[in-house]
């Protein structure tokens, strides 16, 4: 319990650091930040938008620390300002629409990849020298070395454009109305299939390798020998004694990789024009919608922190030693 509280404190600290970074970075730009930012719009913004922009960033004549406090206040109340490219929609609303799709796609794909990779890793470690163990690692190393988004492009090209097996963009067919009907669900599934497969293919290899190596280390421990010496069946030893212990460092790596995994899924979204956070991000960058960029940065970072905390909870549930505050 104490362990979890300490972790929570850490995440709060990291969250504060991110929020502060988002405040500091625009002001680090060379020259007068306000003028530079507005100059990029070549005077195309109407006065309302300008005022909204100024408001969001807290640009005013007040001293820096005052701006910081009011900024913190805005963030704490969930007010991330008004979007420039989707004017007059609020940044928070724009992000919310994207959040659903990202959670759906990335959440599902990452979990599938992890589960699949872990099982494959256990199987590979059990049959050392088997075909899975010899072919698997080099093959997955190769596949994993391809950039996420390039794999997305390749798969999209092959299956979407050339073979026409799957749709090529967006989350569902715009001709289908967004209600809980079978055709809608089917549309969602077919649109998510290829992006999800990309993410799974790109990452399953590293989970498998990771788990295999951890299992191999654990299989050398005394308690495994003792388990066999008790006459327990091999499968029981593999799951209840070996894998159960190998899960601990595996879950820890999963937590550490969350940031990277999310980045990869965002890139995949971009290639597939899948309307999640990633797609929003690139549009925001292209149109220099600074409030949206900042808002996305905050939500993505805080989401990763939150997910990490969830992983910590799972870890404590798995490791009896952590429950007592030891490690």
């Amino acid at each position: 319990m104490r362990y979890l509280l300490r972790r929570l404190a850490f995440y709060l600290l990291a969250a504060w650091a991110s929020i502060t970074l988002a405040f500091v970075i625009p002001r680090l730009m060379p020259g007068d930040p306000e003028a530079t930012m507005f100059a990029r719009f070549h005077g195309k913004l109407d006065p309302q938008a300008m005022a909204a922009l100024r408001d969001t960033f807290g640009f005013s004549d007040e001293p820096m620390w005052r701006q910081y406090i009011s900024y913190l206040g805005h963030v704490a109340s969930g007010d991330l300002g008004v979007s420039v490219s989707y004017f007059p929609a609020r940044v928070g609303d724009v992000i919310a629409t994207g959040m659903v799709w990202t959670l759906f796609l990335a959440g599902m794909a990452v979990v599938i990849a992890y589960a699949l990779g872990t099982l494959l890793g256990i199987a590979a470690a059990w049959r050392r020298g088997g075909w899975l163990d010899s072919i698997g690692p080099p093959l997955f190393v190769l596949v994993g070395a391809f950039p996420f988004f390039w794999l997305a492009m390749l798969l999209l090209f092959l299956f979407g454009f050339t073979l026409g097996w799957t749709p090529v963009r967006h989350a569902y067919d715009s001709r289908v109305s967004a209600e809980l009907s079978l055709s809608f669900v089917w549309s969602v599934v077919t649109h998510a299939a290829l992006p999800a497969i990309t993410i799974v293919v790109a990452t399953v290899g590293s989970w498998m390798l990771d788990m295999r190596n951890t299992m191999v280390s654990i299989l050398g421990e005394d308690y495994i020998t003792m388990a066999h010496a008790k006459g327990l069946p091999p499968r029981r030893v593999m799951f209840r004694y070996a894998a159960r212990n190998a899960l601990l460092p595996s879950v820890t790596s999963f937590g550490m990789a969350l940031g990277f995994l999310l980045s990869g899924s965002l890139l995949t979204e971009i290639v597939f024009s899948y309307p999640g956070q990633g797609y929003l991000l690139i549009q925001a960058v292209r149109s220099l919608d600074y409030p949206l960029i900042q808002g996305l940065f905050l939500t993505i970072t805080l989401a990763v922190l939150g997910a990490n905390f969830l992983v910590d909870i799972v870890y404590v549930w798995l490791d009896p030693r952590a429950r007592r505050g030891q490690q």
Binding site: Y223, T225, H228, G231, L232, P233, R236, R244, L248, P320
Partner: protein, 334 residues
Amino acid sequence: MMFTELLRVEDLRVEYLTEAGRVRVVDDVSFTLRRGEILGLAGESGSGKTTIALAILRLLKAPAAITGGRILFEGRDILDLDEVELRRMRGRRIALVTQSAMNALNPVLTIGEQLADAIIEHERVTRFRARERAREQLQVVGIDPDRVRSYPHELSGGMRQRVVIAMALALSPSLVLMDEPTTALDVVIQRDILVEIAKLRDERGFTILFISHDLSLLLEMCTRIGVLYAGRLVEAAGARSLAEKPKHPYTEGLIRCFPPLVNRAAPAGLHFGRAGPPPRLVGIGGAPPDPRDPPPGCHFHPRCARCVAVCRTTEPALITVAKDHEVACHRLQS
């Protein structure tokens, strides 16, 4: 059908099949274990004693292979058994107690679950009944049965070792292999555990193969002792016979290593830094050979003060030189 001879190891040879060729770690070792006795296997690390124990259970890891000999247990050759028969044998008829109970227990399961696992596997009882049996076992080794829900890291070293012993005895095996069961513990706890083991043996009547590098411990616990050096058995005798009249130069060296508390030269007896000159502690110079490149002939000859020409060329055979006392040394066979 009762066998007085519980375990007979004949010319056991264990080799590691490495990229650089075969490395022999157990070299044609033979010994017998009679029902009810405690046989000790003494030797330094690397002498092959743990390897023998794991070989009996066929649990040596790759790249080890058993390349010669027979292991007869209750009349059947363990080397002929298939996987299913081996699994039925392990835990049920032959049990293992390893050293460093720190690592012998699964950190993520309660000790109750680990005790119950073995019981459920071999005897088709319900989980509930198995849990009850687990509690009984804990009581037998002197642990509060309510600790059945504890995790290994919540127990002290001594308690963990008792749990491991309880696990080994849970199914009433006829043979228990104990590999350095007390090495990782402090001296006081060591004593307690050894007393516990002796008591349990008296109550239950199982046979023990006791492996240790600590010869003094073996001299106290065991009825018979075998001394291993570099994969070979160099001497085997009753405990008293070995202590009073060690015949192999290596054994002699080992016995001379013990500092005596009683100085026979001093008038009052007790030594403690006062009367009489302190006895000299004599070690054995040199180091055990690398199993990849052992010396020809007798493995001990480079360190032996009594080495002669034949020792360098021919391996001495294990020969009975007195009642229940075998030695492998050229100097004693003429």
